[in-house]
Symmetry: C2
Subunit: 127 residues, 2 copies
């Protein structure tokens, strides 16, 4: 069986995502993981992100044309993208009430939804 071994690289990459306040781009994961593990190769980052995704331990999030990754198991949540600093945050509130099975005009059967809010993050709003 492949993908089961515990390695320092996999641990570090999973940890990096685990402590982030929101989803991270591949380059960000790479940089942060290198702090803990110099010599880490970018190919390993891609391979590990793919592996963790297949295992359901992280999820890809596409936002503004970039693929970001976030740790799984955060329950239902959405994202906030700051128009000023560009950072993406995880929000634990949901502005939508859409029970699975709701049928939209035209006959669209809704099974899930995704919301992205854009605006100013607390830091940028304060500055």
């Amino acid at each position: 069986m492949t993908g089961t071994r515990s390695t320092r690289q996999r641990d570090v990459i999973a940890q990096v995502l685990g402590r982030a306040p929101g989803p991270l781009a591949v380059a960000e994961v790479f940089e942060r993981a290198q702090d803990d593990l110099p010599g880490l190769g970018i190919a390993t980052v891609y391979r590990t992100l793919k592996l963790l995704t297949e295992q359901g331990r992280i999820h890809p999030v596409t936002l503004d044309g970039e693929t970001l990754y976030e740790a799984a198991g955060k329950g239902h949540h959405h994202h906030f993208s700051c128009n000023q600093c560009g950072r993406v945050f995880t929000l634990h509130t949901c502005p939508v009430t859409l029970p699975s099975g709701t049928v939209y005009p035209g006959g669209f059967v809704v099974e899930a939804h995704e919301v992205t809010l854009y605006g100013q993050c607390p830091e940028c709003a304060a500055g």
Copy 2:
């Protein structure tokens, strides 16, 4: 001034997007535009999509890691992505009430929102 000339290529590409029921991927734009205009080059498609975007005549939409393009001027709307056939539709209903300026817990100032619904499109639900 560059970007102002009317060419067959630009007209065709704009028309393709104008008559689509939802946003299209670059490859789809390319294929459909080639029906009207054999010999069209892919580079022209990319250049034109970029131009039309800068002119505000179309908008990019990122969905599941792909960048799609749709005609502008459709007013506030959202997207529905069919889990079965993969097609993306434009929905003219909005499940969210979020006046610009709403402040979310933590101090996030909301200026805009984007919603994507996932499920079965009318055709796939009927099949």
